[in-house]
């Protein structure tokens, strides 16, 4: 089935739009953050010396700030850093490209699964300007590349279903495994998604089971190093830092409620108000918080780095479209309809396991089912043949888009200056005048300033590998470096030398 010419043009235009929005000023806006600098510098360090900043050779998890970042994205950045040198573009380009590719993928997915090109085009268009997807495509966010692999894997699964080729099945498993190498939350989401897909296609898969054993065996082999690295590399420390238990709210709640009895340790208070029950309830509350209209449309995430001011993760006009879309989806008789529902229910699972919810970053894969519903809603309206409504939707989208770009490019950094502090001027000064001073202390609002200094000064990796010394982890499990070479960070009181504010 080939595309008609006009549809090719439309698809091209959508991809062009997606690319323009994801690549425009990518190197400079927003300024590089500490995680991205860590990705860039560690890849560069690997290129130069074969070891990361802590002297670990070719790790699967990068120790970085003691948070053991999953390694796949580092290795994607690596070739760019090798040929292009250490720059913001090199760190961000893979994510942006995968964002653009995801837009194309949803079109292909709709075409493959439902043989519906129009739906695919609408879906791609909606995803291309989705504030949620744009936000995390513009920057070295591992979450976004994991989403790409999950989408690609899902596409390969359905390709396998139609072609019955083992090759496609291997691609499916391989992509899902790659997603697990890329991002923490994918490690929970992908297995559940696989189980779900397996459940809904059990008859088909059982018929083919003989051919599938070999690829499955291979993917398990492929995942073994990940499992070892994960268990070795402070995985439990990371989880206790940002996991569900890091939120002490339910514990206090249990104590408070128990304290209201004459005897807090009697059987009834113990049975009703214990931390196990309260933490389970907390899990479900966090899970469902991702479906809250306020999160989706009004205020978005809690963390300034993952949110835009005065808007949610979706456009305002999508309030209505989402409702219409869910309604049409409930009524539709499409085959493979379960896919979207499954994805919708699975996506917030990992995010619900952490201390802070709703989180737009950790539940990024929700953007796929939600934009699907919006697209489905638009298609439902198109089918109802109310032509004026198309016009109205377009006008609303135009306004929403302008609103987004105003919020993103004009208001964002001014409203949350500490979310993306710009280190570049500091780096410039250090390069130009830093030589004149023997000791330099950098104060200020920067998060992990040491890595930004390393990144922008292109500090020799051999040197830092010897000098690096992490502080003990804070309450969330993050460490930092207070001092290396002639640079000191943070507390400059009583410092003898040049102080930068």
């Amino acid at each position: 089935m080939s595309l008609s010419k006009s549809r090719k043009i439309i698809l091209g235009a959508i991809l062009l739009l997606a690319a323009a929005l994801r690549l425009y000023h990518l190197g400079a806006y927003p300024p590089l953050n500490a995680d991205e600098a860590a990705i860039g510098y560690n890849s560069w360090s690997l290129v130069q010396t074969g070891r990361d900043e802590h002297g670990e050779s070719w790790p699967l998890h990068f120790k970085s700030f003691g948070d053991y970042k999953p390694g796949a994205y580092f290795y994607m950045v690596l070739p760019l850093v090798k040929f292009w040198g250490l720059s913001e573009w090199a760190v961000r380009l893979p994510s942006a490209l995968m964002g653009i590719a995801t837009v194309y993928l949803v079109f292909s997915l709709a075409k493959l699964v439902w043989q519906d090109e129009r739906l695919g085009l609408i879906w791609a268009a909606v995803l291309s300007i989705s504030p949620w997807h744009l936000h995390f495509s513009r920057g070295g966010w591992e979450s976004n590349s994991a989403l790409f692999f999950i989408t690609l894997g899902t596409y390969c699964f359905f390709k396998f279903k139609s072609s019955k080729s083992t090759f496609h099945f291997s691609l499916f498993t391989f992509n899902f495994a790659l997603a697990m190498y890329t991002y923490h939350s994918a490690r929970l989401i992908t297995p559940v998604l696989v189980l779900g897909l397996g459940f809904f296609n059990r008859e088909f898969l059982l018929k083919e089971k003989k051919r599938l054993i070999k690829p499955l065996f291979l993917v398990v082999l492929f995942l073994i190093p990940l499992a070892f690295s994960f268990l070795r590399g402070g995985a439990s420390a990371r989880f206790s830092g940002v996991g569900l238990m890091a939120d002490s709210g339910p514990l206090w709640r249990a104590n408070e409620l128990r304290g209201q009895y004459a005897n807090p340790d009697a059987w009834l208070p113990t049975l009703l108000h214990n931390r196990y029950l309260l933490y389970s309830i907390s899990f479900f509350q966090k899970y469902f918080s991702h479906f809250n209209g306020e999160f989706l449309f009004i205020s978005g995430d809690l963390v300034p780095r993952s949110k835009l001011p005065d808007m949610g993760v979706m456009h305002f006009v999508e309030v209505g479209l989402l409702v219409v879309g869910i309604y049409c989806w409930l009524r539709s008789k499409k085959k493979e309809k379960y896919l979207i529902g499954l994805w919708l229910l699975v996506a917030p699972l990992a995010s619900a396991m952490t201390f802070q919810a709703p989180s737009a970053l950790r539940s990024l894969s929700l953007v796929i089912p939600l934009t699907f519903f919006v697209a489905f809603g638009i298609q439902g309206i198109l089918n109802s043949k109310i032509h004026s409504s198309v016009f109205v939707i377009l006008i609303c989208y135009l306004w929403c888009f302008c609103y987004w770009q105003n919020q993103y490019f004009v208001h964002y950094l001014k409203r949350y200056p500490s979310a993306w502090p710009n280190f570049k001027p500091v780096a410039k000064w250090l390069k130009e005048e830093g030589d004149q001073h023997d000791k330099i202390c950098i104060m200020g609002q920067f998060d992990q300033p040491y890595i930004l200094t390393l990144f922008y000064l292109q500090y020799p990796p051999e040197k830092i590998q010897k000098e690096i010394e992490l502080t003990p982890p804070d309450e969330f499990g993050f460490s930092t470096v207070k001092q290396f070479g002639k640079y000191t960070f943070g507390d400059c009181e009583g410092f003898n030398g040049k102080i930068l504010y």
Binding site: Y261, I281, Q285, N292, G293, E294, F297
Partner: protein
């Protein structure tokens, strides 16, 4: 209806009644509004006039919030029977609340003609924590919900009988007279009924137009409603909706200034209007509130987080499993093919949070109370489907967990709700007023702190103060912002903040201070403040009040 189903329904209503009436005379503590409703009813009963000496008013001035009066008239017979007690004030609410599931049963049966589904809807409502909570007290909103469902049922029921249509309009008129929020709900519901039942009504209009008198009657009813609206938007009561409205709270000037600064603008211009205009601000405020009422946080996990008086702590308005069942039922309902009139329930679900979403509070469990009806319907729909399509054991398992969830709610409600927030629940007024009444002799003045709000009404209520005597001296200092006012003096009783310089040393003043005031002054004056005072009304190891007297006990 078979005998068996009638019996089941009777048992259901009886159990629902038990849940609502259990300990209702003593728990939770009486709230300001309930005390005011009770005392005004008492005053009408004794003198025919309200606390301010107005003869049989339709709208009661009360604290300056101008309460629609029907609930007060409903309380009068109970006060006649039981005297001025908490139970008497609350019984009308308990009874109307217990009967609402029955009326919902009739209504659903009339619209959908499915008896099992109607039964499950009634079941869900009878055991819905949200509805139980507001049935246990003199909440006017709860009475309104009853009248709205009753009116809708009569409207749907065989509309060709004009007498019944008139009854229905009359009931809607009563609903208007019960609660402020009804001014929005009644037109919305009446309009909805006409719209969704239009195919049915159209046939009947032919019958109706042949008769002149009924049309005149209907017009009179609608005219009365119009007069009511006119009055409430022009009379002294008009400030109340205005003070409560979302639109009377403007953005702070600093916010506008910082937005302009971010845009590098100096004054509001077209760009500002398009991207940051008031229209957008109010839309966002409205949507936030509207979404809040459908949020899992509100329905399943935390309840009304703006007011601890509206729900049990750490528990949603409908509970965890009910929330899932609601989503499930709604999904099933939308999936199926429906007739026009069946969509009424979806419409109700969508309009029910509107009065709350248009008011200033970020969330309100009482203004959105009508949501219980559509919620109960969809929960019932889910249950009904499960019973029909699933294995009996699975269904029984669900019911078992529903009961556990309700039991958990009851534990939080009875054991923790007041203990956790005694100040919000106004714990201690009853005990304190009782003690003061005993000990007041020999004091020239009694000063009671107004820290918790409206102490005068508790004084009137718990001392059964003679209404004739009060009417002569009633003087409400009205609040200039349209919120509730204050009464500062009855005889030698003063209701005002404690002033530590003058009140505490004098021998002839009996003083009752709130624990907060004592805490604050002890921070300034040191710990010896405590040694001079006697704690009163202890709850959860904390006293609510302190007094300077009766140390000998």
């Amino acid at each position: 209806m078979t005998k068996k189903s009638r019996l089941a329904l009777a048992v259901l209503i009886a159990v629902g009644f038990l849940l609502r009436v259990w300990r209702v005379g003593s728990y939770p503590p009486l709230l300001w509004d309930e005390a005011s409703l009770g005392y005004n009813a008492f005053s009408i009963l004794k003198t025919g006039k309200d606390e301010y000496g107005n003869f049989l008013p339709l709208i009661f001035k009360s604290f300056g919030d101008y309460k629609p009066g029907l609930y007060i008239y409903l309380v009068i017979p109970f006060i006649k029977l039981l005297g001025l007690t908490e139970l008497a004030v609350r019984l009308p609410g308990v009874i109307l609340g217990s009967l609402t599931p029955l009326v919902l049963f009739w209504f659903v049966k009339e619209v959908l003609k499915k008896e099992k589904l109607s039964f499950f809807s009634a079941l869900a409502l009878a055991f819905l924590p949200w509805h139980i909570h507001f049935s246990r007290g003199g909440w006017e909103a709860n009475a309104m919900v009853f009248f709205l469902v009753l009116g809708s049922w009569l409207f749907v029921k065989n509309s060709s009988k004009l007498f019944i249509v008139h009854c229905s309009l009359f009931i809607f008129l009563l609903a208007l007279w019960t609660y402020q929020g009804a001014k929005m709900m009644v037109p919305l519901i009446l309009g909805g009924l006409v719209f969704f039942l239009w195919p049915v009504l159209k046939k009947q209009t032919k019958v109706i137009t042949t008769l002149r008198l009924p049309i005149v009657m209907s017009c009179v009813m609608l005219l009365l409603m119009g007069v009511w609206f006119y009055q409430s938007f022009t009379g002294p009561a008009r400030n109340r909706p205005k003070a409560m409205s979302l639109f009377s709270h403007q953005r702070p000037a600093e916010e506008i200034k910082s937005l302009l600064a971010e845009d590098n603008q100096f004054e509001k211009n077209f760009h500002f209007f398009v991207f940051h205009g008031e229209w957008l601000h109010y839309t966002r405020c409205f949507l936030t509130r509207y979404f809040n009422h459908f949020s899992p946080r509100f329905l399943a996990f935390e309840g009304d987080w703006a007011s601890p008086r509206h729900s049990a702590p750490y528990f949603g308005m409908i509970g965890h499993l009910n929330f899932l069942l609601f989503l499930f039922g709604l999904g099933l309902f939308l999936r199926e093919k429906r007739s026009r009139k069946e969509n009424l329930f979806v419409y109700w679900l969508l309009i029910a949070p509107l009065p709350a979403a248009l008011s200033r509070d970020i969330i309100s469990g009482v203004r959105s109370l009508f949501m219980v009806i559509p919620l109960a319907f969809f929960i019932g729909y889910g249950l009904n489907w499960l019973l029909k399509k699933q294995n009996k054991f699975f269904f029984l398992g669900i019911v078992f967990f529903l009961i556990l969830d309700l039991a958990y709610h009851q534990n939080l409600y009875f054991e923790h709700m007041v203990k956790r927030r005694p100040k919000d629940w106004l714990y201690g007024y009853k005990e304190t007023i009782g003690l003061v009444k005993e000990k007041q002799d020999g004091f020239e003045k009694v000063v009671i702190s107004d820290f918790y709000g409206q102490p005068y009404i508790y004084y009137l209520f718990y001392t059964q103060y003679s209404p004739e005597k009060y009417q002569r001296q009633a003087n409400l200092n009205e609040n200039q912002f349209g919120d509730v006012g204050k009464v500062e003096k009855i005889d030698n009783f003063l209701f005002r903040p404690i002033s530590w310089e003058t009140d505490i040393q004098k021998e002839d003043i009996l003083m009752v201070a709130s624990s907060e005031e004592v805490l604050r002054s002890s921070l300034i004056r040191g710990q010896e403040v405590y040694s001079q005072l006697v704690p009163l009304a202890e709850i959860n190891k904390q006293p609510m009040f302190y007094t300077n007297e009766f140390k000998q006990e």
